[in-house]
């Protein structure tokens, strides 16, 4: 799964070394994008999960929810796209963990690319592939519910991208902090569950128990869901939520980069 080479693999060392940092970062990112799309299993599973959750679960449960002023099916539709992008962004952590286990990281470290560019490229790749992967789902939701304002769609997509970028950083942080494969699996699954379920993506905050409503507004998934919903449905810009998202990206991208950098230079994978 993660043993693919970079697109620059066939080039000479001199040529690569002369390339601009932006180009190298992009090459690293494109490698991660191609890695995900070469594993159809993951795409099939998550797409199936999205379709069943939306068109079976949300559709059926909406029939049981009779809250005036709440179209739960529509509410859940936008939220499920946000939850899906968070879920797919976590996959980069699995790739990084697997690379370390299989020794592919050793190969990657021999590439003539600075560590900083390598790490930024990985995070960017994780976010890019998540957004590419989620766009068809976003289109389905936009089509079914008639979201057609270009600016609203753009704002929603930017918020999704920011969420993906931050979650990628979070996933990298976990991948380089946990050593046992089993532990890594369950910790990442728990984290994914916690940030999605404890957020406003899948249900409004007004209906959460008190102890959840205290934390839910600060979940990055809530920031993205609120921004997307406000722009798509209410045509407004949720500045505090966007600021929250940016803060989340800065913190976890920084943390992820710091942990990853320390592991690489500490020789733990070496």
């Amino acid at each position: 799964m993660s043993s693919s080479h970079t697109p620059a693999n066939g080039s000479s060392k001199t040529t690569i070394a002369a390339e601009s940092p932006t180009h190298l970062i992009l090459q690293m990112a494109l490698r991660d994008v191609s890695v995900l799309f070469r594993t159809p299993w993951i795409i099939i599973t998550r797409s199936l999960a999205f379709i069943i959750q939306l068109f079976v679960f949300a559709f059926l449960i909406s029939g049981l929810i009779h809250i005036p002023g709440l179209n739960f099916f529509e509410y859940y539709a936008v939220g499920s796209v946000v939850a899906t992008i968070a879920s797919i962004s976590f996959v980069i952590g699995y790739d990084i963990f697997e690379e370390a286990e299989e020794g592919v990281l050793d190969y990657l470290l021999t590439l003539p690319i600075a560590r900083r560019q390598f790490i930024i490229g990985r995070a960017l790749g994780g976010a890019m592939r998540a957004i590419i992967y989620t766009i068809p789902m976003f289109v389905i939701v936009a089509f079914v519910w008639g979201f057609n304002q270009p600016l609203s769609i753009l704002t929603a997509l930017v918020s999704l991208f920011l969420l993906a970028f931050g979650v990628t950083g979070m996933s990298i942080t976990v991948a380089v902090s946990v050593k046992s494969a089993n532990r890594f699996d369950v910790v990442l699954a728990l984290l994914e569950l916690a940030v999605s379920r404890g957020s406003t993506a899948l249900y409004p905050i007004a209906f959460m128990p008190f102890y959840v409503s205290l934390f839910a507004p600060f979940s990055p998934v809530s920031f993205a869901a609120d921004t997307a919903r406000n722009s798509l449905v209410g045509f407004t810009l949720d500045i505090p939520a966007i600021a929250g998202l940016v803060a989340f990206v800065v913190i976890f991208l920084g943390l992820g980069a710091a942990f990853y950098f320390r592991r690489l230079e500490g020789g733990i994978y070496g």
Binding site: T45, I52, I61, L64, R183, L193, R197, Y203, M208
Partner: protein, 255 residues
């Protein structure tokens, strides 16, 4: 050593594998807690179709989902033994007949699952007000019987999946079927007619119905009476899947 003495030893080995990292058991309980006290509690306030009881209506589902995760973890361990740790040859040298070894592995998975859901089952029994009644044993029986089928299924997947991606994909597809195409979140009557046979053949439907029938509260569209009928229906697919898992395990061991 007789086969009867060996079965508990094989089960013990599987339980030891579970507890080789107690952190995992704690995380499974954390998953259950999020499912119950976040998701189920919120939907309990949102859904009015089931009166004020919707939280209790879906509460056992959180525990059965944990049982499902734990059961699949057993299958994953079998897969790791085969493809990562290369333990198949060693296991075949054990002085135990292969059918006994295979069935003991299934039973080991069931025991692991019941242990992993032990606190969760207590929580549900407390919520249902049956914590200090004999019904608590029936609750564990339901969890065990449900796990039996899922462990069998997960071991069958392990026999045929050559890559972890394939294993995870099949597992996820089964989890989607068990969670969303069952009576876990909604009564069977809300499904379109075309989906009714799929829902009726889902072990989760009968496991959760059996659990709901333990409650003194009568839920809408859950037949009144004891859980025996639902348990008997649940036993059908569970035993069939357990047999399938056993056969697949023997088949893959011979490779």
């Amino acid at each position: 050593m007789s086969n009867t003495r060996l079965i508990p030893l094989i089960i013990e080995r599987d339980v030891r594998i579970l507890f080789s990292d107690a952190f995992l058991v704690a995380i499974m309980f954390a998953n259950f807690a999020i499912d119950l006290f976040v998701t189920a509690a919120t939907f309990g306030r949102l859904v009015t179709g089931q009166g004020e009881n919707y939280f209790l209506f879906i509460a056992p589902g959180s525990n059965l989902i944990t049982a499902m995760v734990a059961a699949f973890q057993s299958g994953r361990d079998v897969w790791r033994e085969k493809y990562i740790k290369d333990l198949t040859s060693y296991l075949l040298t054990l002085p135990v007949q292969r059918p006994i070894l295979a069935f003991s592995r299934v039973l080991g998975g069931v025991v692991r699952s019941v242990i992993a859901t032990f606190p969760g089952t207590l929580v549900i029994c407390y919520l249902y007000g049956i914590l200090f009644t004999q019904k608590i044993f029936v609750a564990y029986l339901i969890v065990g019987l449900f796990s039996l089928g899922i462990v069998g299924l997960s071991m069958a997947i392990s026999a045929f999946s050559s890559s972890i991606e394939m294993w995870v994909t099949v597992r996820s597809a089964i989890q989607l079927y068990l969670s969303f195409l069952s009576a876990l979140f909604y009564p069977v009557s809300v499904f379109p007619r075309v989906l009714a046979p799929i829902v009726a053949s889902n072990p989760m439907t009968w496991a959760i119905q059996a659990f709901r029938q333990l409650s003194p509260i009568s839920f809408a569209q859950v037949p009144a009476g004891d859980s025996l009928g639902s348990i008997l229906i649940l036993a059908g697919p569970s035993l069939a899947f357990a047999l399938l898992g056993t056969i697949c395990y023997i088949w893959y061991s011979k490779l």
